[in-house]
Symmetry: D2
Subunit: 446 residues, 4 copies
């Protein structure tokens, strides 16, 4: 069953079967995903898309441009004869690695090109890609696929960056003008026991995946237990009320220093107003909902909470093994929407968006593996065994980020629907909080 | 003669003579100055006005709002019965001192209110002020005057902040699309000798001035010499070429540390391109013009250059004494434009703007006292003798800034025409470079 | 065979066999190890032992005190009836975790107690321990063992801290006045291939080990190759000469930033003098010996060198597996000195000390696994599977350090002779250079 | 009368009258002052003299060496034929300006040379100076004088640096084992009114002074009032208890930021213990004595207190004018001890040292001008008019420090007895607190 998760990831797997049908389908998929990025900006002002609220968060305008740059540089410049770049400067400006040696925190300084010009750039590139798709050589498909996968990754960043910006505004503006209904009451947390043993980890590689998911390989796992759902705001509040943030023994040493230096006392978007805890969400400020999963906690906070609970965080291998073990047991797991079969109506999607974790439904708690919040694992981000070094300019040198970061697994409310899979590895430094990050507990069985 | 400089400063001095004529004139002056702020933004994109390129530089949008806030808070809220503020939040947001405890470097984060709303705010307030002017009590005039003087101060900041933003863009966008002609060749610098003795310093206070210019008081000056013009790019380049930036003996100790820590090797907007020095200006990038005054140097650089030249910077008292002594000797000094008599046509002003120092004209070098660049003095910014502490909410607590800053005198190309006077005291910390700051030498005579 | 490595670690394993003989032997071991710490200070001035050259390096005086505190707090206070602490303040001052909330970088500020008093403290505690040993309850032995193991750990830190201090002195003082002979020429590096498969990792726990080596558990290893010796200065110099420090593609992103920010251009103690590379050693400054192993490199540098070499660093599991696989094949592996059988004559040890990596001998290159330099592995420091959380006050909360650090394996010239074992896990943050850290390459076999 | 203050400063003024008597007297003066530096260390351990508790405070060992270096470099190397320096390295190491490019905060790293060697260095140099004095050319006297004046300056720094070190030790060690008696009750503070007018400022230059006191020149002063004594701990406590540290309006903007960033809530050595304010002194910790002058406050704190009190700090010119005006009116002002007439017995001095401000005696409050604590003035440290630039290697380039520092006048308990004079200008950055700094109020009279 879990195959369906990875299968869905491949936008263009049927290419070789029937060129005519396929290319029409591909064009629709391309348009739908590209349009979704634009859709995400409908409620934003030009200013919202121009500034950055911290060095780690990029301007939305920059996100719109750098994803476009990818298609221009790796697809059009390679496969379209005599392709004329939209503007020579864009080639340097929107390369995330070089960016004309502009430090990441200075991206907002590039007020020109304006948003208007960046949108023209998108249209220009989209038209050229659509023309290319009609008659595209086979070796271009992986690039197209990669570009769209990156576009989807970026869509999640657009949401987290805009949440950080609006959440820094003292007036708590909303991104989506639709209040949230109270969440269902969650059931008591249960620990599911798994035997472990030899386990296959990583992606088989037949369909699309990022390189950090390769190669599929074997690990040995000891018996362990893993929680059947994420930790809730209510459970996390109990930790706070028990003095969790001031008891050093729960914290990693580096975490204790971080907490003290940064005056951290609660998750990123919690606000104490008139003695009542509130949470800022993309739907606005609301009283803290105790049944929703805790969100926007750092690795340090997740780890301290786990220690306080007499548990620990799972390794990324335990997480992947658990997801593989548990999901098939569910009757009628709906699966993720399949872009291949029926391209998503992006506009309709926007109307229905709920961009705040809603919590474990009593019926299908296990869907939480791919929803609500990413889950911190205790695994430092490292290459899988037998990885080969690459120097291919078409790929990101992802190994160069593999130090002092920790792996997150699953997906969040901000992850595009068809962008999750069991083998997906997200990763951030330990103090990161502006992503939708949550907690699932694990425990060793001896 | 120098009285004319201070007289010009008073927009509303004739009020009491003839209410009808006066109030019409006042309305025109108010509109003209307020309009000029808007005029300054005609070539800017929404993005240009939303971001800040460093913590010291504010978003243009914020400048437009905070000047408006002043009129609303100190004029309308006091003198208009039942005045309803435009928006309660604006009262807190755009107070430069409080700003909802938002650090200065975070002003760009307030993407909402948008620029559109801020411009509506301006119109709303302007309409109310225009209505009030028709029948305004006497005690409101000083507030109106103060608000307009602050608006003019802000206009200079708008230009320096936008120059810093555009100058940080790797593509050197222009603010004004009009190339500059080469400057006239400057004459050899001459040192004018002055006898000193007792001198009156400060503003008499009968017309408008800022509080830091009060009270007029007496100081004793030793004989000194002062340069008849500012230092040019050519002279400054000779300092650089002589190794000036690496010879510690020319530098204040703190300046030497600053220079090393910040890797300072030339004035802020100098760019070495293909082994040729260029200068970024609001009119675009151009080869360094050796006859123009050096601009955008810190106090540390000005002081080091002076020491290298066997001279020193003047004190602010020497500067004021020299300006008073020298200017009357000039036949037919044209004086500054007088707003009172003929309100400036702001649109016409824009067409004629030249926003880069053009250098000492051979005929009237002494006008350079009020043009081109501010001039660093060696005087630490401090209250004049016999100043009384104020706790009047209508005034800025300017004394609270009187530490670790140095006085600049004169005015620059970015200073609004009627906003200069001999007693004017500008002030910045020693490492400041984004203002239009230059150098005039002095020397003691023994 | 590798059992011998771990067996040697147990100072007191025979306790239960024969109390009389054993306790005499234990007393000798205790004295010998404690005396060695004092021996290490014979060439130091009081000043050398009082200051710290950076926050990470502690004063030698503090090292002498904090090891003593351990015996007082966990041994004497528990097992000696009515034991009176030497001084109540010492209990707080020399607890490495609390230290009266004194930041680590402020330890030198505690000039009082003086060195003289600290040495009196040592004598006081040593006398009490010697008296206790004569009639010690069984449950005290693990504490005594742990205290001595920690004393040995500290002896390595004393050497690295004193090297950093003397190495910061512009006059290159020597710690040991004995020049080093040139190293033997090393043979060409060979990669040894290993099949991998299931492997037991970690310490069996029957004899002494630190808690981070527990529990013994199984991992699955892919085939890999590992170098038969460490990287030499000569090989590392080739990396430098090939522009290795300025080519971003070899470096982890965080490493590239670190290198640039800190102006790193060579290993920590390399000095370019008159265009010739020298190396500062505890035996003084000497021309760089190309046959010696490169030492004092950060994880970032080790990782970049490996990437440049088309290889990678081994994981800690590969390292342990390789050490276990290779060492038994060597005929007549001498084994480490056994304290249990013949207590080391500490004074004689001092005379013979060579505290600089000497390189791979042609005969027994594999001894290099435990000599010369620690070896960076690519493994982030993390708990072994099935570790249980402890809250026992007698043990260090070692898990609290398990984040953003990388494991080093083996041992160095500064490691006390009987303090190495195959399962030993050392760990430091990625930018660490003042420890004796070196490089062994590995490669995946596919 | 005030002449006596400056006259006393000249150790060697009578030289030219009678060589024989004079040179014996000079030798005694030299020995007495040099010995006093050593005397100040009698209660210190080697460790106390080796470390530095913050970058601004130097190791005592370094102080002993750098004063000696001055005599070697500027006196012996110039006036003793074939003088052989004690050690070539010392010449670089102990030059306060170069110090081998060692940052000031790294001085403690130079553990070698040891204290023992530094004391040998002192003896070596002292012997050579004593030999030279017997037959010294006239032009050497000013150098000898300058060296001794610098030695005395350094003696004050030794005390402030040692106080900062011991005061950072959680056990509050004493420097002098002699408890302090309670201070006399102070009388109500009175403001003395002075007419001002033209005033001569600066040193006439006939006897010794530092260059920053030159030249004597005229200033114009408005009428002002100045307090007849310093502010007491009791008065300062009232400021604290009135919420003075949290009310922004009393503080300079930069001061408010400093206070918040550094969590400043009271003078440097105040300690709240069991709800009772204590003060750490060189005589140990004691309950806060409300009658003693407040000490160890920054310029920011002094300025805020003055504003809170409806007053201001005096300018340095007002201070000097007031000291000149007031002191002669006192009957029988004792004058400072005259080294010239009877060299001080340094050992006896040590016995009698009281190194904590004792407060205004009811009889001779005005002696407080030169005792207890330095007094912050509102004057930024700047050159006097008509100062000429010097490039003489024998003098410090004192002008290079003249930026962003404020002048302190008077003297403190830590100032050597014969080292005060009315024209003396001490100076520190605004956040400085470890010097003995206090507050005297002033006010303008209009």
């Amino acid at each position: 069953m879990n195959v369906s998760y990875t299968k869905n990831q491949q936008f263009f797997s049927s290419k070789r079967v029937d060129g005519g049908v396929a290319s029409r389908q591909f064009a629709e998929t391309y348009q739908s995903i590209r349009q979704h990025s634009i859709n995400l900006t409908v409620s934003l002002s030009v200013e919202d898309m121009a500034v950055q609220s911290m060095p780690e968060a990029s301007p939305i305008k920059w996100h719109l441009a750098q994803t476009t740059w990818f298609f221009e540089k790796y697809l059009l410049a390679r496969f379209v004869k005599d392709y004329l770049p939209f503007h020579p400067a864009f080639t340097m400006l929107f390369n995330p690695s070089s960016g004309m040696n502009l430090p990441r925190g200075q991206r907002s300084v590039i007020t020109r090109p304006t948003l208007t010009l960046v949108r023209t750039y998108r249209t220009h590139v989209d038209n050229a890609v659509m023309a290319l798709i009609k008659n595209m050589p086979d070796e271009a498909y992986p690039i197209l696929e990669l570009g769209l996968q990156r576009e989807q990754q970026t869509q999640e960043l657009m949401l987290t960056d805009i949440k950080h910006l609006l959440g820094s505004n003292p007036f708590h503006p909303t991104y989506i003008n639709k209040p949230l209904a109270p969440a269902e009451k969650v059931a008591t947390l249960k620990m599911l026991e798994l035997r472990g043993g030899q386990a296959d980890i990583g992606h088989p590689g037949l369909t699309f995946c990022f390189e950090n998911e390769l190669p599929k390989h074997r690990v040995f796992l000891n018996p362990f237990a893993i929680a059947d759902r994420k930790i809730t705001n209510g459970e996390y509040l109990a930790f706070i009320n028990a003095g969790g943030y001031s008891e050093t023994r729960w914290w990693l040493e580096e975490g204790a220093e971080w907490r003290q230096r940064e005056h951290i006392k609660a998750p990123l978007y919690w606000r104490m107003i008139d003695d009542i805890w509130h949470e800022y969400t993309l739907h606005g400020l609301m009283p803290l909902d105790l049944n929703r999963p805790v969100c926007h906690v750092s690795y340090f906070e997740a780890e301290a909470f786990a220690r306080f609970s007499g548990a620990r965080l799972p390794t990324e291998f335990e997480w992947e093994f658990a997801a593989n073990s548990i999901i098939p047991e569910l009757p009628g797991l709906p699966g993720l929407p399949t872009l291949t079969d029926a391209p998503v109506d992006a506009n309709k999607q926007m109307e229905e968006l709920i961009l705040h974790p809603k919590g474990a439904s009593s019926a299908t708690g296990l869907k939480q593996f791919f929803t609500d919040t990413w889950e911190w694992t205790s695994s430092s981000y490292a290459p899988y065994p037998a990885v080969k070094l690459k120097n291919d300019a078409a790929v990101d040198h992802y190994e160069r980020q593999m130090v002092n970061q920790y792996v997150l697994r699953g997906g969040s409310v901000a992850t595009p629907p068809a962008h999750s899979r069991i083998t997906y590895r997200n990763f951030y430094p330990t103090q990161t909080r502006w992503q939708f990050t949550g907690i699932r507990l694990a425990r060793s069985i001896i």
